[in-house]
């Protein structure tokens, strides 16, 4: 035989290729969670505040490795995969829309139907046989409580299987009040309530989304907040730590037809607040109680009831952008039945909550997440970490997330942040723009030095 070829090992052969399924001797109870470096897919995520997408505006973002372009037409928001099928260009980099039905790629004019994603025409090639035979993935959109939510899905996720938005949002009160009584504070408002007002911010954090998410409901992490201004100014009693004191300190939330996650019974006898460490002579000196409770729901949304003040709830998302960046959402929700209530809430948000809570208090969390990221960045941290009893919260979450996620995101080729050191990325960084959530838009076609990110010029 003349075509006999030598048999060689694959050059890419490596011992760390993760064997799938039965082989995985490393398989821990939450291996799927460990695999979800780029996040969980086929879930609802917040994409933009409603006010960030005006009528006829186009914006580009990235969630779980999926580039997404959004356009608002006649008030309604449409979302498509932001990667032209032709040569992979991001439509959002230079939005081109000739009518209210479509968006065109500014490079070669491939024109997609906003509603169906269908390739309706090609600007300079209207008779091409490719037209009407293919298109872009569409992402279902819902707007609630002043936030645009997008169902970020795999290309073949069936329309009929898209769950309601409420399945990926925190549990609601008072409908859950009997199941999770809260005698010490009023029922937490929900994004889906009628007269609710949502105020908040979102910004990009540099860490894996799981590190960020676990920080949010880690009952030992509150030590980092000991010296925060809002705590000291209010003389709050924020314990040094809160340790589990009972086997029912956490209740999994696994209803067939609803959100999946967990509730922590904080400030009941199931958790023990630690106010003093005699060995170190450290004591919490505050005198005003600041009771709160945390629950977390897939794909990673935190509800902090009764925080930062009565009648308010703080909701957070840690939306994966890449495997080392996430969009950190912090919103406060409050019932404001009258215009005056709304004005008062906005005033207090601007003067107190935003500077002292969402920034001051939670900036501390950004520091802490960054500090943890490198340890987990190559994946080994998940196997080397030394856990203690307060980590019951994180581990329960990892197990529930492994069970109830709707898919593990893998980075599709050709997206921002998959290649960590591309020349374009390096240029952006050298010009002072961190890798982020929003697309870099071409501001002036006649001037190459004109990229903008949400209006921030280069």
């Amino acid at each position: 035989m003349s075509n006999e070829k030598p048999v060689r090992r694959r050059s890419s052969s490596n011992g760390n290729a993760k064997p799938e399924g039965p082989s995985s001797s490393l398989a821990r109870e939450y291996q799927p969670y460990i695999d979800a470096e780029w996040g969980f897919i086929n879930h609802w995520y917040p994409a933009l505040f409603s006010h960030e997408l005006e009528e006829d505006e186009v914006e580009g973002i990235q969630i779980a490795g999926r580039q997404i372009v959004l356009r608002r037409v006649d008030g309604k928001v449409f979302a498509l995969k932001d990667q032209c099928i032709h040569r992979g260009v991001r439509l959002s980099a230079q939005p081109m829309c000739f009518n209210k039905r479509t968006i065109s790629c500014w490079y070669h004019g491939f024109t997609y139907n906003l509603k169906s994603g269908n390739l309706d025409t090609i600007v300079g090639n209207p008779d091409d046989p490719l037209i009407n035979t293919t298109g872009l993935t569409t992402y279902p959109v819902e707007e609630a409580g002043g936030i645009i939510f997008v169902f970020v899905r795999e290309d073949d996720f069936p329309d009929e299987d898209v769950p309601p938005l409420s399945h990926d949002l925190p549990i609601r009160f008072p409908e859950s009040s009997e199941r999770f009584p809260h005698p010490l504070w009023p029922a937490a408002p929900s994004l889906l309530d009628d007269d609710v007002v949502t105020l908040g911010i979102h910004r990009t954090g540099e860490a894996n989304w799981r590190i960020a998410c676990e920080n949010g409901f880690d009952n030992a992490h509150i030590l980092i907040h000991k010296d925060n201004t809002i705590v000291q100014a209010n003389n709050w009693v924020l314990p040094l730590g809160i340790r589990p004191a009972s086997d029912d300190c956490i209740t999994p939330i696994e209803d067939e037809d609803g959100p999946k996650g967990l509730m922590q019974w904080l400030f009941t006898d199931r958790w023990e607040p630690i106010l003093e460490n005699k060995e170190l002579d450290v004591k919490v000196e505050g005198i005003n109680s600041r009771l709160y409770r945390t629950s977390v729901i897939l794909p990673g949304v935190l509800l902090v009831e009764n925080w930062p003040e009565e009648n308010i709830a703080q909701i957070e998302w840690y939306v994966p952008i890449t495997d080392d960046t996430y969009e950190y959402w912090e919103v406060l929700v409050k019932h404001c039945p009258t215009e005056q209530d709304k004005k008062d809430f906005e005033y207090r948000f601007d003067t107190v909550y935003q500077p002292l809570a969402l920034r001051g208090f939670n900036d501390c969390d950004l520091h802490a997440r960054e500090a943890m990221h490198d340890y987990y960045a190559d994946g080994s941290g998940w196997y080397n970490e030394q856990l203690v009893d307060t980590d019951v919260s994180a581990i329960t979450w990892r197990k529930l997330a492994s069970r109830h996620h709707r898919g593990i995101a893998t980075p599709p080729p050709g997206v921002q942040g998959r290649e960590k050191a591309s020349s374009i990325r390096l240029r952006s960084v050298s010009e002072g723009r961190s890798p982020g959530y929003f697309v870099e838009k071409i501001d002036d076609l006649n001037n190459h030095n004109s990229a903008t990110v949400r209006g921030r010029k280069r």
Partner: protein
């Protein structure tokens, strides 16, 4: 109408009659010729072939294409912007059936004794080799130092390629059993031929799915369960009933418990026939199934020893499950000396 005879590299031939006025590719696809294509407009070169007859398949006049003038003079043509003016013989330099059996080499990566008579064998395809398959299918493995082959179903899915795994029952005697017990080492080279077999998930995501696996019959079923786990969208309600003869034979229980934890719609039952094991039921995998309670649209997947499959199929039919909803993969073909993890239905 002129006819073009399309030859593929595997010797397959398709006769295509085409009207000179139409795109040849359209006529060829209509005739079932598996020509590769993408742009359908003369630019991507996917549908290129070589014409043998002057004046046969010609490039449509006035249509631009990516073929260079010299290539056209050389007989190269594009099916999508070609028109068939006279009979021709066309040659395509790829096989007509990409998923047909291939013969490839693979290196042994790991040999794990899962139980006293069961091994999990992990291999990696050699450089330049590839083997596509559907979860549930099997390959013939050539045993080093022997002319013989044995058939085994993959327990992993194509997503794990170039890695493949097999759950293999080791007998007291047999070429594969002797090899695994006495000689097998990491970095050994095995020859794999395949894939074969029609045992596979039918893709139904609405109806309840019942999987019954005896011993290493778990292998193709594990592959199918992993496939369903990775499927986009709602998962069907599933039951896996897995059993081994004795407690010492039992394997993969940790994995199955994890799988049940990770797939909320999967219920796993583990049985041993003789002896007891914590967390396992006593009896056969059939004993663990309540056949009377099965929904009439249940899909059943059976893999294991012939006796088990036969009994399961009878119980299913008696419970009103139509035969076309029962999929089976029979074990231990007679020509393999009692070895082999899978074989086509008799």
């Amino acid at each position: 109408m002129p006819t073009a005879r399309c030859h593929f590299s595997d010797g397959q031939v398709f006769d295509v009659q085409a009207d000179p006025g139409e795109a040849f590719l359209d006529a060829a696809l209509r005739a079932g010729a598996p020509i590769r294509y993408q742009c359908r407009s003369g630019s991507c070169l996917s549908c290129a072939c070589r014409s043998s007859a002057e004046g046969g398949l010609c490039m449509r006049p006035g249509v631009a294409s990516s073929l260079l003038p010299g290539e056209i003079a050389d007989g190269r043509r594009l099916s999508c912007v070609g028109q068939l003016l006279a009979d021709d013989e066309l040659h395509f330099d790829y096989a007509s059936n990409d998923s047909g059996p291939a013969k490839v080499s693979a290196f042994v990566d790991n040999i794990e004794w899962m139980a006293d008579d069961a091994v999990r064998l992990r291999v990696e395809l050699a450089e330049g080799d590839w083997l596509d398959f559907k979860p549930g299918q099997y390959v013939r493995i050539g045993i080093p130092g022997s002319e013989e082959t044995r058939s085994y179903s993959m327990s992993t899915t194509p997503a794990a390629l170039p890695m493949l795994e097999f759950m293999i029952r080791v007998l007291d005697q047999g070429v594969m059993s002797d090899y695994l017990r006495q000689r097998a080492q990491v970095d050994d080279v095995l020859t794999l031929t395949g894939p074969y077999g029609g045992f596979r998930w039918d893709g139904d995501r609405q109806s309840p799915q019942l999987f019954i696996a005896g011993g290493t019959g778990l292998s193709p079923i594990a592959s199918i369960l992993e496939q369903i786990r990775a499927t986009s969208g709602r998962k069907p309600p599933m039951t896996l009933s897995f059993g081994c003869a004795t407690a010492d034979n039992l394997f993969a229980t940790d994995y199955l418990q994890l799988l049940a934890q990770w797939v909320p719609s999967l219920d796993v039952k583990i049985s041993v026939q003789d002896g007891t094991r914590e967390g396992a039921l006593s009896g056969t995998p059939l004993d663990a199934v309540d056949f009377e309670a099965l929904a009439p649209d249940t899909r059943a997947y059976l893999c294991g020893p012939p006796g088990m499959i036969q009994a399961a199929a009878e119980r299913l039919r008696a419970a009103g499950i139509p035969g076309d909803q029962i999929y089976q993969e029979q074990f231990t073909p007679s020509d393999e000396g009692g070895e082999g993890g899978a074989a086509p239905c008799p």
